[in-house]
């Protein structure tokens, strides 16, 4: 049995300032080392000042992930030397002596399975290391402290995932949820990162670090699973270790550093007094929280009779659900939902495509109106969608320009059928003997009319011609 767990880091980029100083949380627009101050540089004599808004954002994440949230939280120092750490310790949280981090014991539902959230903690991001002009002989590391002190939320799951695919779905749900909460922008480069841990058949756990993107995470997990399976088949022990994802070679490599043995000498960060999180604060956060994915799904199924699988797909994707929410009416909700899951998704299945797509809610409702009014066929709608995604032009204009209006005039279709009966003599004979092959002829008509012919009428006309 495959067990995968995740450790996700997400920057709270929607906040104005860093976790412990007034420098900008959005450090990306600055020249290197231009978004720094005595506090985030850890200069002697400086003291951290907690950004209370960050505590609220982290708490609302905890609440959205169904976590227990404590009445007061503390911060800890994680002590280790590293060039990207200005103080050579990181201010973070710990869940050791009872509940002290912003959240714990939550869950996220993925395809009906509860993925447990072990803990959520608020901490500071370190600076960024840039390896420039590095060769084996001259190794130069540049440090940019602009990122140091950016508010970061760490989310740790139990090893509840059974496949890399489940991980991907979970991460999509999670990043939509974080974006929905208005606390993070998971699309920003480096704003959301994840490490994984993998074990098979109850064996030793291997941690994988240094993964650049979610896309790579899935690849790294696949690689690691395959590696462990092939070791196991040959009866070779799987070592408990940390492995680094080598992005160039697309493999995981055992990390020679003794990271796992490191003793972080955690102790309370006394410069930041315990923070009380009042019940009233939590109530307000809960009240202002956007609708959860599960309740959205529930609403789609209950109110509009949308199939649960369809409702799930739409509810768990922020982009699709916004398209849906803005285009449906009582009458066409089900049709719109089906159109999104059968056709729209085919054109815009990635975040990048969603960003460049020009489709709007109005396009969808117009298309459904046209289909229901039998002005166009389902097939034509699909052709039109491609053009809508690309150009964003008005639906009616596109239908006109591409000549996609439905042909339902019998004489017009009849003429086309006669032509096809002439061209496809063998098929006509076959269809007469074996009526189930009639679809070939229908297909030919559709081909000829570029899908505009009314399929029901076409079939009816062909059948009557065959029986003549």
């Amino acid at each position: 049995m495959t067990k995968i767990g995740l450790e996700i880091h997400c920057q709270l980029t929607k906040l104005e300032s860093k976790l412990f100083c007034p420098c900008k949380a959005n450090y990306r627009e600055f020249e290197p080392n231009h978004n720094i101050c005595p506090v985030c540089m850890g200069l002697p004599g400086s003291l951290p000042r907690l950004n209370q808004k960050a505590v609220e954002s982290a708490t609302s994440i905890a609440l959205a992930l169904n976590c227990q949230t404590p009445e007061k939280i503390a911060f800890f120092r994680k002590n280790y030397f590293y060039p990207d750490l200005p103080k050579n310790f990181q201010i973070t949280q710990l869940n050791v002596y009872g509940d002290m981090s912003v959240g714990g014991e939550g869950y996220v539902e993925v395809e009906g399975k509860k993925i447990k959230i072990r803990r959520i903690q608020l901490e500071e991001d370190p600076g960024r290391l840039i390896y420039e002009g590095a060769s084996d002989r001259t190794k130069i590391t540049l440090v940019d402290y602009n990122r140091a002190g950016t508010p970061l939320v760490e989310i740790v799951t139990d090893p509840d995932f059974e496949s890399p695919r489940q991980v991907r779905i979970f991460l999509n749900i999670l990043s939509d949820l974080l974006e929905n909460l208005g606390v993070a922008e998971p699309g920003l480069e480096g704003a959301m990162r994840a490490d994984g841990n993998v074990s098979i058949e109850g064996g030793n756990k291997v941690e994988i670090k240094n993964i650049g993107s979610f896309h790579d995470l899935e690849k790294a997990l696949h690689f690691e699973l395959t590696r462990q399976q092939s070791l196991s088949e040959r009866d070779i022990d799987i070592v408990m270790e940390t492995r680094h994802w080598d992005d160039r070679r697309k493999i995981t490599v055992s990390s020679r550093s003794k990271e796992e043995d490191q003793d972080y000498r955690y102790f309370l960060e006394n410069d930041i007094p315990w923070v009380k999180i009042e019940q009233s604060t939590r109530d307000v956060l809960k009240e202002n929280m956007p609708e959860s994915i599960s309740s959205k799904k529930e609403r789609y199924v209950q109110k509009f009779g949308i199939a649960p699988q369809v409702a799930e797909i739409i509810a768990s994707d922020r982009y699709y659900s916004q398209l849906f929410e803005n285009s449906y009416s009582e009458q066409n909700a089900k049709d719109i939902a089906n159109l999104i899951t059968t056709d729209v998704i085919g054109f815009i299945d990635t975040k990048e495509k969603q960003q460049t797509s020009k489709i709007t809610s109005k396009h969808l409702s117009d298309l459904i109106d046209a289909i229901n009014a039998k002005t166009i066929t389902r097939n034509s709608a699909k052709v039109a969608l491609q053009e809508i995604v690309n150009s964003g032009k008005d639906t009616k204009l596109i239908l006109q320009e591409m000549d996609l209006g439905q042909v339902s005039d019998s004489s017009e279709i009849d003429a086309i059928i006669s032509q096809i009966f002439e061209d496809e003599k063998q098929a006509v004979i076959d269809a007469k003997e074996r009526p189930e092959t009639v679809n070939f002829l229908v297909g030919k008509v559709m081909q000829k009319t570029k899908g505009k012919a009314d399929p029901a009428k076409t079939l009816e006309l062909i059948k009557s011609k065959l029986s003549q």
Partner: protein, 481 residues
């Protein structure tokens, strides 16, 4: 011009025109020039002190609004940052560190028109009790130059005692204000934890240390506390003191107050001179109308061990940032990789700092925290509950500030454990966060003895009343320098 004057008297004289700020500042700088080669209280002087003084004189003569300090000269311990000036912590590792910002306390002083004379010597990173651990050479005791001035704020205490300024700001992690105050016969206050902003104070053990005023009189101490105390947005651990005026009713006396004599700090381990002085002080308190009674705090014998465990842990973490990458001293980095570079650069730490960093890597480590660090935290919380119940019964707890009088240079530096035990009577106030003040009580054989009074948290106003009452019972000679 008499430089041996209090802040309050100085302000009166400036107001009445007896002398100008410029005259007094010039005389003070002249005094520093004359005696500081011997005393070595200062690590650096403020080049613009005279200009600052002149500006304040102009304010006075033009009738402009003037801060309540009227330009009195004050020195600052060299672990407190002032923009544009070197802050070395008496360490080679910060030899060239120029702070880009000013600490909250110095901001308050400058806004109140005090004149900063310079930065004073200390044991490296405030770790020590004699200033012998300064990387720039020790400070001498103005009462006898062969003797240590105490520490770690030895430079601050000596600068006040030698009339090289009227007051100083020190910092107190385990007695670093009170011990040198006692050794140099000045008043030293360690306030309630959180009463004074630590923003700009270079951390050693941040959970228990405070900045504290060092002055010639108890009233001056209250005057200074009025200026530097209070909540600060730059330090989340500061607390609101509701703008208490510490000078108000300072002469109210202690008639009917209850004083606890801490048995563990007075029964044994005191030199006979300190013991005799303590008995006399108790009589003085009684003659002032207070009732004195022995009280026992059974956890006290464990406090020094707990104190060094906690402070080393925090020091190990607080001093980790000195890797000589972002600031520090000149060192050729060519040929080093990260780990070898920082281990080489950190060799600049002196012996006492190195000792505590090593200890601080050990006592909270995974295999040993249960035996050391967590036990020390237990001692701390047990001590807090003991002292809180003592304060239910008593207004004040007293003991001599130091179990011994000042000693000669070199006498104890090679015996770290004996040195640590000199903190025995002072660390309790830090571990419990309570305020404590050391009041000059006697000069015996030409060397000072100080008495320590502790009160409950945020009871500084009451603490000053007791300290002032005791001060009125003493007549001390002038420093022979």
């Amino acid at each position: 011009m008499n430089l041996n004057t209090s802040i309050l008297k100085y302000i009166e004289d400036v107001k009445s025109g007896a002398f100008t700020v410029e005259e007094f500042t010039a005389a003070t700088l002249q005094r520093i020039k004359e005696v500081d080669d011997d005393v070595h209280a200062y690590l650096s002087l403020n080049d613009s002190a005279m200009d600052d003084a002149k500006k304040i004189d102009q304010k006075i003569s033009s009738g402009e609004k003037i801060g309540q300090c009227y330009g009195f000269p004050i020195s600052i311990k060299d672990n407190i940052c002032i923009t544009g000036t070197k802050t070395t912590c008496a360490s080679k590792i910060l030899e060239n560190f120029i702070a880009p910002y000013t600490s909250t306390v110095v901001n308050y002083l400058q806004n109140a028109d005090a004149v900063i004379t310079g930065k004073t010597n200390l044991d490296e990173f405030a770790m020590g009790l004699t200033t012998e651990f300064s990387a720039y050479g020790p400070t001498k005791n103005p009462w006898n130059l062969d003797y240590v001035p105490g520490g770690s704020s030895g430079g601050s205490a000596a600068s006040v005692a030698a009339n090289e300024c009227l007051a100083s700001l020190g910092s107190d992690t385990g007695g670093s204000v009170r011990n040198p105050a006692s050794f140099c016969s000045v008043v030293g206050l360690k306030p309630t934890y959180g009463l004074i902003s630590r923003y700009g104070l270079i951390s050693y053990a941040n959970s228990i240390e405070q900045i504290g005023p060092m002055t010639k009189t108890v009233k001056d101490s209250a005057f200074l506390l009025n200026i530097i105390a209070g909540q600060d947005v730059n330090d989340d651990t500061t607390i609101d003191n509701h703008n208490v005026n510490y000078l108000e009713n300072i002469e109210n006396g202690i008639e009917g107050k209850k004083i606890g004599i801490i048995k563990e700090m007075t029964a044994e381990g005191l030199s006979s001179e300190v013991s005799a002085a303590t008995k006399d002080a108790i009589h003085d308190f009684e003659s002032l109308g207070a009732s004195c009674e022995e009280v026992t705090l059974p956890t006290i014998p464990y406090t020094v061990a707990a104190y060094y465990t906690i402070t080393s842990t925090e020091a190990g973490s607080n001093l980790a940032r000195y890797d000589n990458i972002r600031y520090g001293y000149e060192m050729e980095s060519e040929g080093y990789e990260y780990n070898s570079y920082i281990s080489k650069s950190r060799k600049k730490f002196g012996p006492e700092v190195t000792r505590r960093i090593i200890l601080g890597g050990f006592v909270p480590s995974a295999g040993h925290a249960g035996k050391y660090f967590l036990k020390a935290l237990k001692v701390k919380s047990k001590l807090i509950s003991e002292i809180n119940s003592a304060f239910e019964k008593f207004d004040y707890l007293i003991a001599p500030t130091s179990p011994v009088q000042p000693f000669r240079f070199g006498e104890k530096i090679d015996d770290p454990v004996t040195l640590m035990l000199l903190d025995y009577n002072t660390v309790t106030a830090n571990l419990t966060g309570k305020p404590a003040i050391s009041v000059p009580y006697r000069i015996h054989n030409g060397l000072p003895i100080g008495m320590q009074i502790m009160s409950n948290s945020l009871q500084e106003k009451s603490l000053f009343q007791a300290a002032y009452a005791l001060e009125t019972k003493t007549t001390l000679p002038e420093v022979p320098l």
